[in-house]
Symmetry: C2
Subunit: 434 residues, 2 copies
């Protein structure tokens, strides 16, 4: 296809959805990708660019001049444009912005760049349809038609006062059925959900999901309507956050694609493995301290991986529930009550597991009764402590403004390994007296 059959190729590509073209380009090498990008018309390119992998987009853009990039930016909605511009280097960023011909568009992009990308301000677009409460229905219709030109999907019409403060919303249906002599202030709905520019993305997602909204207006500190967040951006946001949390729980920092470069992957994974290794040093130290037991009760050392594994698994279960509860805002009741519940649950699980362990260590592993009892008692204690740590750590991190997702994965398994082994040998020493 790459034999420069421009016409055929263009015909074929123009028939494809931009998301599909992006998928094809993601597979091509840089020269071919740039070639196709330049072949397409501006509007299509802008859409394709948005759908590309971040890494590939960066490469393709580095092959374009600031003027060419500015032309693409011009075709984009402000939120997409701001995302792209934010990815550019400082120097090129300024050049690109200077090259945008539509001054208002440029200003809007600069405004959006000011907000944290995970806040409502960072997620919103400036494009929306708004009407003044003092307008008449007829005047409003023509004004609206003009505004709607720039807006891909209208969703809602927002009503503002003379100071651009958000007052309410208007349904297209109501507008169409209202007598043409009516004032907007007579027909609009005063109840409208909104978020502030600094509302975190998670909160925006929660509100939109709870109330089944397809768009939500965003106001600044003084109540002025400054933009709106649409559901398609929130869908992407939810998906990204979920992927991030999932990877975090597996000990992978940053959102890494399955196809990321090997050095990026080392950077994302190695720190957690080093943490686990250092935790391992601590367990070696602890176990070493109980060396005396080796001559008489060497069999105790066979059980250390079992104890560590149980501590880790229980801890991860508890912390996952807490992290999710915090993220979904479904935690109710006090920490103490929640902790008691978790401990009750652990006690129940622990007793059942201890029973299985007693039977198993006797019949399957052929260990002495006293060893089985020692390990079983340790197991119950370890499980209770592990679930306590798993419950308390995420809440504490959250309280101090740290992402509780950090507490899952290697962090919790490592600290629970350490505590678990310490408890195990301490109890064993107490019972067996070595």
């Amino acid at each position: 296809i790459e034999q420069q059959h421009n016409k055929d190729l263009l015909l074929y590509l123009n028939d494809l959805h931009h998301a599909d073209i992006a998928e094809i380009i993601d597979e091509l090498d840089l020269d071919d990708a740039t070639y196709i990008i330049k072949l397409l018309n501006s509007e299509k390119t802008a859409e394709v660019l948005m759908e590309l992998d971040e890494d590939n987009r960066e490469k393709v853009l580095s092959n374009l001049s600031a003027k060419e990039i500015a032309d693409e930016i011009e075709e984009m909605d402000t939120d997409d444009a701001a995302d792209i511009v934010a990815e550019l280097s400082e120097e090129i960023k300024d050049q690109v912005i200077a090259n945008i011909e539509d001054e208002e568009h440029a200003e809007n992009i600069v405004e959006l760049l000011r907000y944290d990308e995970d806040s409502a301000g960072g997620l919103m677009a400036k494009e929306l349809v708004k009407v003044n409460e003092n307008w008449s229905v007829t005047g409003c219709m023509s004004e609206m038609r003009e505004q709607a030109e720039n807006v891909t999907r209208v969703h809602s019409i927002y009503v503002v006062d003379n100071k651009q403060r958000l007052k309410g919303r208007l349904s297209l249906k109501d507008l169409l059925t209202a007598p043409s002599s009516a004032q907007i202030s007579d027909v609009y709905i005063k109840k409208v959900d909104y978020v502030k520019v600094n509302t975190p993305g998670e909160e925006v997602a929660r509100i939109m999901q709870k109330y089944d909204l397809e768009a939500i207006p965003v106001v600044n500190e003084t109540g002025k309507l400054v933009g709106r967040v649409t559901i398609d951006d929130i869908v992407d946001f939810i998906k990204e956050e979920a992927d991030k949390d999932y990877q975090m729980a597996a000990g992978i920092s940053e959102d890494i694609e399955a196809d990321a470069g090997i050095l990026d992957m080392v950077k994302a994974r190695l720190p957690w493995l080093i943490l686990a290794l250092l935790g391992g040093f601590v367990t070696v130290r602890i176990t070493g301290n109980f060396e005396d037991a080796m001559t008489k009760y060497g069999v105790l050392f066979f059980f250390t991986p079992l104890i560590a594994a149980m501590a880790g698994n229980v801890g991860v279960q508890s912390s996952a529930i807490m992290v999710q509860g915090i993220a979904n805002n479904t935690l109710r009741g006090s920490l103490i009550k929640r902790l008691l519940r978790e401990i009750g649950l652990s006690l129940l699980n622990g007793l059942i597991l201890a029973g299985i362990l007693l039977l198993g260590s006797h019949f399957l592993l052929g260990q002495a009764y006293i060893i089985g009892v020692t390990v079983a008692i340790s197991l119950i204690s370890v499980i209770i402590i592990a679930s306590t740590i798993g419950t308390v750590v995420p809440i504490t991190l959250h309280k101090y403004g740290i992402d509780p997702a950090l507490a899952t994965g290697p962090f919790i398994t490592t600290s629970n390994d350490i505590c678990g082994i310490l408890i195990y040998f301490t109890i064993a020493k107490f019972i067996l007296g070595f």
Copy 2:
């Protein structure tokens, strides 16, 4: 508030959004909840019911007669209605359906109940606006207005032929600007994304996310338009799936809320802990087989938790990447290539970690050089094997139609503990010759 001040209460509640009322009711005891549900008018109740926790809804509904439930169902969109009816017991289900007065509504619900709840058929609603390609624009407008009465949000107008087969879509904008004498067939857009009734929910979500759709039409085997899936249901679906995967990775089966009953929680968590315990038995057996080493190289046993922890962490990292790649459909290239990448990455990580281990075991733990080397070599091998298992298991499960998410969490850590410890002692025996 519960002093039967009906009027005040009603006034207050009518002012609230139904999702907020649902949150309040979720906090109340059953009697108060039923009382409020009965107090509200049918339309509001129907909306509130949809937002309640599944458990609470079940309880509240059990306090209502089949006729009362049918009245609520009547007010709901078909997709919500079908979800509620699906939760009822067989016996009540039939009574409720028999009590629905609107026959078409009842038939639609029965149809929806036939589909798997996680397929497009299970997610779709029957409510939509469709027009026949042979209609004129004028005729179409009045017909549409009538249909739109039953549809909360219009999104798209779908175009069908005389056999109700999906032909394309129509934008409201095009319809408004078209000359009133035109035929629908002259103005509609022939390109329309759609899914089939049996398309899995994940695939529907992927398509809607990729193409930024807010609704997608659903056709049956013969191409007949049978319903549409809206983005709000997909947002809920994505969130639920992400929560499920997250919990699965933490060893919690089923989607359990932080406030679930204690027995439900035991049922969700205990099986995984039993699996881990049985895996622990195997590690005890393996370690026991190398008992001979204890007299001369007892220190080797101090390192078993470290080896097990590293094997577990590396395995979880690899499997998480694979599970996510499979879920997001971003895996490209052959299994062999992917495996080589993972092994290369593990080798790199392993070498760095082995270096740290060599230094640490000498300077921090004061171990003999030969012990450090033995553990370091084992560590590299264990890491490579662990990442291989973490990569291969999810792909294999997926190939045989099993949810690869099962492979994360306790399953992968347990099997990696076992393999890791076996490799460790085998290598140690080979080097140290005990």
